[in-house]
Symmetry: C2
Subunit: 184 residues, 2 copies
């Protein structure tokens, strides 16, 4: 199943140490909710990248993880290649605003930017859309998940990830996991 | 605006140091997405509790933060008082399962349990519902946000929080924040 629009996630402002687990969760959410890649910028722990790649290796899918240095250059490059830039921020237009999600669904390719506590002021003008998942302080992990859930209308929670080693059989009680070999 | 069902969030398995920011995000999401309280169990940094209370003090609402010691006793007490227990876990029944969210909306009071990496096996049998926000590994912060967004059908993103000092005016570009006094 292919989801539209195509999404890549850009994670800005990662702070080494402090943001390690939050940035990992951002990456895992990007994958689980149907984005095709995440790009981190600047210095980041190798363990963040590795733990997401481990999840891809065990649980499947073709999700990619990149680390780049210059966010501004990357965003302008994406814009030039037809990507629309969505910046998730508590200061933006509420996703509940009439017509907004429909407009975003009409785009072909979305680059979704999630910042840490502070993002460069410039980002607000570079972005095509500054979107708030509610105008209250909460979490970039939550914002990304709810954004993708609404963008894809829930279809993303039923994705079949190809090339998995492990897969869960949903269960009312306890844990049921199959290994790929078990099924052959 | 009062949301139904009433929700309290229970955070289990917090690990001091490692989970500090994730557990803070869980609390902020609980507040922003319409729960009325969060209960942490066991040892937890004072800064987690304080940063959530600071958000309540600045941004409003009547959200409460508690720290308790015995999760089992608390859950059984809630059950005896008419609360239904929803455990969010990647091993559970997918929230996309037909009829599930409607059934949960029909409950009066939900205690939503979010664990860290490992939760006691017993929890799977104590819970009335083991619910997966997709059966892929991602984040308890994301799981809680998407769960509440679906439970409340998006109404929670338009809550007016009473007694705020700060409030955002949604903006297509940049940041607009009003202080309570500015409006008087």
């Amino acid at each position: 199943m292919k989801l539209y629009p195509e999404v890549v996630v850009l994670r800005l402002g990662h702070r080494v140490g402090r943001d390690k687990r939050i940035s990992t969760h951002v990456g895992l959410v990007a994958r689980a909710f149907g984005a095709r890649a995440i790009i981190y910028f600047g210095e980041i722990e190798r363990s963040v990248v590795e733990s997401i790649r481990n999840v891809v290796s065990n649980w499947g899918g073709r999700f990619e993880v990149y680390v780049e240095t210059n966010w501004r250059k990357k965003i302008l490059e994406l814009k030039n290649n037809g990507w629309r830039i969505v910046h998730l921020t508590m200061y933006g237009i509420n996703i509940a605003e009439r017509g907004l999600i429909e407009e975003l669904r009409g785009c072909e390719k979305l680059a979704v930017v999630v910042g840490a506590e502070k993002v460069p002021a410039e980002l607000y003008s570079i972005a095509d859309y500054n979107v708030a998942i509610g105008n209250q302080p909460h979490s970039e992990v939550a914002a990304l998940a709810v954004f993708l859930d609404r963008l894809y209308g829930g279809k993303e929670l039923c994705i079949s990830f190809p090339n998995y080693k492990l897969k869960i059989i949903p269960s009312a009680r306890g844990k049921m996991v199959v290994r790929h070999n078990d099924e052959e």
